[in-house]
Amino acid sequence: MDKNLSSAGEKKTNCAEQSKCFQLLESILDGENIPDGDKILKEKLEKCEPCYRHFHLEMAIKELLKTKCCHQITPQDLLDNIRKKVQEIK
């Protein structure tokens, strides 16, 4: 029995080209236009456990970053200063 197969007998438990695969998965996650991206993603997620876990973890982190790190409110005095200084240049 191949040690590289999980108990379910279908997913690889090791990814031979982890760095390359993970970068490709991240590119797909980032919405980059990868030829056959959907097909590659489906296949990787179905057949490779490390790829599956990496993709879902990255997706969760990306979502967390987007929802928790984007809410700086620009100080009003900065807005006022920019308007004032631009008027001066004009």
């Binding site: 760095s19 967390l64 240049i89």
Partner: protein, 238 residues
């Protein structure tokens, strides 16, 4: 060899050398002339590109709507409210001064981010209250090897990440060296494409991809240690 012949050869060599010198001189002059002509032509084109009304329209409709993103970026680069304000203000004033170099219909947000990033490198990085702790080249060389230990990062669980509070993810992001922090901000917070990031950062797309990948591995390392201190099970999934 007769003396007359030697003299002739010397004379010939002298003429050849002078010709080469003269040619080099002319080439230099013509290059400079072409360059200055180009600059004059460019500024001529720039001067006449937009009317004042158009400038104001572009500034208000295309530049100002990105101010929250710009301030967030500046704050995460400088970690200081006053520095962030100065950086954003400088960026917007530069954007107005050089508005004629902006092509309407192109990506204003990417254009502004590029100015801000350049201003940060040129003006703020040196005097920043929290300078980059690690020299970028050093970091890139270190992490450019392919033997990154993934086993230490893959056991962070999705559940643990989903339960994290804003502070943890924000602190983890802020703890990264500035070049790694930057690619995550541009990609995950601001949604720039790799091509846009390459232009903003003046690096090839391949470098964007690998830098982002390495930045994410570093971020996961941080999150993993937070998850452990929070008491989350970071072992293998059940």
């Amino acid at each position: 060899m007769p003396i007359g012949l030697i003299a002739e050869i010397c004379d010939f060599q002298f003429k050849v050398q002078n010709k080469v010198k003269a040619l080099t001189f002319f080439k230099k002059i013509s290059d400079k002339l072409t360059h200055s002509l180009l600059l004059i032509l460019m500024s001529e084109v720039q001067r006449k590109k937009y009317s004042d009304k158009e400038k104001n329209h572009i500034f208000d409709r295309e530049f100002m709507p990105h101010i929250d993103s710009m301030y967030n970026f500046a704050y995460r680069l400088t970690f200081d409210e006053d520095d962030a304000k100065d950086l954003v203000q400088d960026t917007y004033l530069k954007a107005y001064r050089f508005i004629n170099s902006f092509e309407q219909g192109t990506n204003a947000k990417a254009w502004l981010f590029r100015i801000l990033k350049n201003s940060f490198i040129n003006d703020y990085r040196k005097k920043s209250k929290q300078p980059a702790k690690v020299d970028y080249q050093e970091v890139e060389t270190y992490y450019n090897s392919d033997d990154v230990d993934y086993s230490s990062t893959t056991d962070l669980r999705v559940d643990a990440v989903k339960d994290m509070l804003g502070d943890e993810i924000s602190n983890a992001l802020n703890s990264l060296a500035v070049d790694f922090r930057t690619v995550i901000i541009l990609c995950d917070l601001e949604g720039f494409t790799y091509e846009e990031m390459a232009k903003i950062l003046d690096i090839p797309i391949g470098t964007v991809r690998s830098r982002l990948h390495r930045a994410r591995n570093l971020l996961k390392d941080k999150l993993r240690s937070y998850a452990q201190t929070m008491g989350y099970d970071t072992d293998e999934e059940e």
